[in-house]
């Protein structure tokens, strides 16, 4: 599954439903694949418990008004 996401195939199914010329779609997939490599690297170091709300918690905990 991870490979399918990182080569853009899964997400590109959604893009394919749009009326996007092939050359632009290829550029979009290429850019998404580049970002996906970073996501894969970051995911390796991420604990299972990491949560999208951690960001708000850190912001308010570290507040220096």
């Amino acid at each position: 599954m991870a490979d399918a996401t990182h080569d853009g195939a899964t997400a590109a199914d959604a893009a394919a439903r749009l009326d996007v010329p092939p050359e632009r779609l290829a550029l979009a997939r290429q850019h998404a694949a580049l970002l996906g490599k970073t996501a894969a690297r970051v995911a390796v170091g991420l604990p299972l418990t990491a949560d999208v709300d951690d960001f708000r918690r850190v912001l308010t905990r570290e507040a220096q008004p």
């Binding site: 998404a32 995911a43 570290e62």
Partner: protein
């Protein structure tokens, strides 16, 4: 004789309160300057002269009756045209727009109105606030007030140009990847991107809700302080607006800045044009002259930050635009269309990874980058003020790389959500540019005190149009 173009909103409000000038006189003068600014820069989408005059007369009548009014009673302002206003349809800088008039004001607009401010115009922005240069392929490109062949920066292009021309003292904008800081730097004014969650986004056009931040552009730092004090705070209409107390930023403008520690990531700065590097060092010299102390500063992995912020922004913008992209794709300008297409190619797992990693990344940046400093200093633009023609690339193959270069120093900061003040570097008769000062969460009062002290040495300037 009061020069109304030079006054800050804070001082204009005092002059109106003291009867030295009427709101109607101030509004007529602002309308005249705004017409001239628009002729030079294309900063206006809709001039609302009749409504502005009626509101000014009402403000003068209220003062004559002894009513105290608010902190901005009778002061003419104008804002980026992306905020709901009851009974009006915001343009969003687009051909595609809301299909019905707003039922109520955006929270930031309502709070300024409650303080007595007038809105005299709706101002230019990049299409859907999705562009960092001021190009708009639907409404026409904004032009820089100092040199109309150059960019204004975007997406809050109209507010920046109008403020720089002295048409208005201040106005609202938004920042998802640099949209307050870039136009402020390009137009030679100041801006404050508050901490994410400090200001309610309710009623503002969403682009990427995890990043979108409402803020202020002005010539005088004291107006950033006043307007932030008015618009900040919790809001039942925006659950992300935090309940932390709002400081009296105006009262704290004269907080001491001597001894405040700042740093510049010199490896990161080396990626900028040499002319920009020298301007940043010049600004650092000014901070040193204020008694601030330079220390070590290093962002561990800037490129990772830049990729993570794109993994958040691109799919969120694409999701927001999915309905229009499926039904009205041909009504987009080429650049925004190309950008909203990219987000559809990013997988949900990658998007969620970027969001789940965000808290830990912020924690590390605070522990490491800010270990020995209070303020990180970076350029706003990597290059000297670009020409409009050089970045007039539509939706072509260069979009990601060219836009990426424009936002290279601004976009990653949105991932961190940190408050950021943009200050103009001394022009020395040349073109404007700027530096950004990044602080710990909710340290806006400290940033504003530094900005106020900085402006004693680098006073605000006006690009005169009359």
């Amino acid at each position: 004789m009061i020069d109304l173009a030079e006054l800050s909103a804070l001082r204009l409000a005092a002059a109106i309160r003291e009867g030295k000038v009427s709101s109607l006189e101030a509004t007529e003068a602002a309308l005249e300057r705004l017409r001239a600014a628009d002729a030079r820069t294309g900063c206006v989408i809709a001039l609302e002269a009749d409504e502005a005059r009626a509101a000014a007369k009402a403000a003068d009548a209220a003062r004559a009756k002894g009513e105290s009014g608010g902190a901005l009673a009778g002061v003419p302002l104008a804002h980026k045209d992306m905020f709901d206003r009851r009974g009006k349809v915001a343009s969003w800088g687009a051909k595609i727009r809301a299909d019905r008039a707003a039922a109520e004001d955006a929270t930031a607009i309502a709070r300024l109105k409650a303080a007595g401010a007038l809105q005299i115009a709706a101002l230019h922005l990049a299409e859907f606030a999705y562009g960092p240069t001021g190009h708009n392929y639907v409404l026409g490109h904004a032009r820089n007030p100092w040199d109309p062949s150059r960019i204004t920066g975007g997406s809050s292009s109209g507010t920046a140009a109008a403020v720089a021309c002295g048409a208005i003292a201040a106005g609202l904008g938004s920042d998802t990847g640099g949209s307050l800081r870039l136009p402020a730097a390009c137009c030679g004014i100041v801006s404050l991107k508050p901490t994410w969650g400090r200001v309610s986004r309710a009623g503002a056009m969403p682009l990427s809700p995890s990043l979108d931040t409402i803020g202020v552009l002005a010539r005088h730092v004291e107006d950033l302080a006043l307007m932030l004090r008015l618009i900040a705070g919790p809001d039942a209409r925006d659950p992300a607006a935090v309940a932390l107390p709002v400081a009296d930023y105006v009262a704290r403008l004269d907080d001491p800045v001597s001894g405040v520690r700042f740093g510049i990531d010199e490896a990161l700065l080396a990626d900028a044009h040499p002319g920009v590097q020298s301007k940043v060092e010049e600004a650092a010299g000014i901070l040193g002259a204020l008694g601030m102390v330079r220390g070590p500063c290093r962002f561990a992995d800037w490129q990772t930050l830049d990729h993570l912020v794109q993994l958040v922004q691109l799919p969120e913008a694409s999701a927001a635009h999915a309905a229009f992209l499926h039904t009205r794709a041909d009504d987009y300008g080429p650049q925004v269309r190309a950008r909203v297409e990219v987000g559809h190619c990013i997988g949900a797992v990658d998007h969620l990874t970027a969001l789940r990693a965000r808290g830990g990344v912020l924690q590390r940046v605070l522990a490491e980058t800010f270990r020995d400093i209070d303020i990180a200093v970076l350029p706003v633009l990597a290059d000297p003020l670009p020409r409009l023609a050089d970045l007039d690339i539509g939706g072509g193959a260069r979009v990601q790389s060219a836009m990426g270069r424009v936002v290279a120093y601004t976009r990653p900061i949105n991932y961190l959500g940190l408050p950021t003040l943009s200050l103009p570097v001394p022009r020395g008769g040349g073109l404007p540019n700027g530096v950004q000062l990044i602080a710990r969460p909710f340290a806006e009062a400290r940033l504003l005190a530094i900005g106020r002290a900085y402006q004693r040495l680098v006073p605000p300037e006006i690009a005169h149009v009359l």
